[in-house]
Subunit: 212 residues, 2 copies
DNA sequence: CGAAAAATAGACCAACAAGTCTATATTAAC
DNA sequence: GTTAATATAGACTTGTTGGTCTATTTTTCG
């Protein structure tokens, strides 16, 4: 069906436009009309595909996340060991492509709305769960159950914290600095781990090839 | 002067009302009228003291931060050693009083606006700088300069990350869990440090007395 | 006390934004 | 090729919101 394809194409187009509009103006200044202008369409048409503004912004949230998820997955399917899976998550979160202040602004702006919209909450929960379970599964094979839980939570909280810094800091956090801090964390949590260091190097290589 | 005092009293009252309104409705749904209603005053009067909505929300940001800052300071002035100062910051950030989902919602909602308002940016920069320098001064006396830099940044990023979790997670993060994760971090960064553990205990005691 | 200054609020206005109604192209289906 | 369905958009409506104008009350102070 052409029509089905067009429908989903438009929704994707407008979701991206919405996300980019949030990047520029922030959630609270984003209007349906601005999104439409950004997409080169009419407000009516955008509304035609989404029904209302909230659904459109949900699309934006989903879109923004998909950028990151795609990179995680690309690295993940090329991972063979637990440590390689851990570094798939870490490196994807601090990729040169994605670790960008503008993206972080939009990400944060959408996050901040989560507590006030049940649909946002649902979407966000899925996102977090996936990241958490990715980390947890890998870490379980590295350390004991209890510590895997704690460190998985700690690592993902730290990732979020660094992203928040990227968004709110006046002179934006450099990706190398963020990676250095993550490395300090990993090195302290799991010192003298040869496999960890090797996995990191290997995944960094793969990432450089896939996302130059 | 009574008048000066009243002026500053009203501004404080309305800043608090604005913050609480953001707690309930989120930044993007907070209106001057809602704030006024919450404070039991007229919109006109609120506007009289702040001039415009943006200044009012700046007040909210300042107010929200002051809650935390007051607790940090209270612990800080009772600290004698570097480790005690570090734990003043940590425990204040995860105090039973302040570590609350509603507060976190508002905090996050205001943070998300930082990139879009230069005044918010300025205020936020001051807040971050103070926290960073508090940690950095103390850590410099504990470890070498380079590592003090990295760990101070890492610790404050982790704090922010945990607050973000508190805000966006469906089943809200318990304060003990957050403290456990921070402790895992500190224990990994500075293992086998007798002074650290003692300082933590001491400051926790003081906190329990000051903020029961 | 009485005038000036400050505090407070009701009514109003202009801007704007979400969403609808209606109309016109464009595509698909027989 | 004609008809039905879909895509797109312009005009309009309705509600909301930030901010102003004006008026009234309260306080200050000589």
């Amino acid at each position: 069906m052409k029509s089905k394809r067009l429908k989903s194409l438009r929704r994707n187009e407008y979701s991206q436009a919405a996300f980019e509009t949030v990047c520029i103006y922030g959630f609270s200044s984003t209007t349906v009309d601005l999104v439409a202008k950004h997409a080169g369409a009419s407000k009516t048409n955008v509304l035609h595909y989404f029904g209302n503004k909230t659904s459109l912004l949900e699309g934006a949230l989903r879109y923004g996340n998909s950028v990151l998820v795609d990179e995680v997955r690309a690295l993940m399917i090329r991972s063979k060991t637990p440590w390689e899976r851990v570094y798939s998550v870490l490196l994807a979160n601090f990729s040169a492509k994605t670790f960008d202040p503008k993206l972080a602004h939009a990400w944060l702006s959408l996050c901040a709305e989560v507590p006030y919209h049940s649909n946002f909450q649902r979407i966000q929960t899925v996102i977090h769960s996936r990241m958490h379970s990715n980390l947890l599964h890998a870490l379980r094979q590295i350390t004991d159950e209890k510590r895997a839980e704690v460190t998985a939570a700690l690592i993902s909280a730290t990732i979020d914290g660094l992203w928040l810094r990227l968004a709110v800091q006046a002179e934006p956090l450099k990706v190398e600095t963020a990676l250095g801090q993550i490395e300090e964390l990993m090195n302290s949590l799991f010192p003298n781990d040869e496999n960890r260091v090797l996995a990191k190097r290997k995944m960094a290589e793969i990432q450089k090839i896939l996302f130059p």
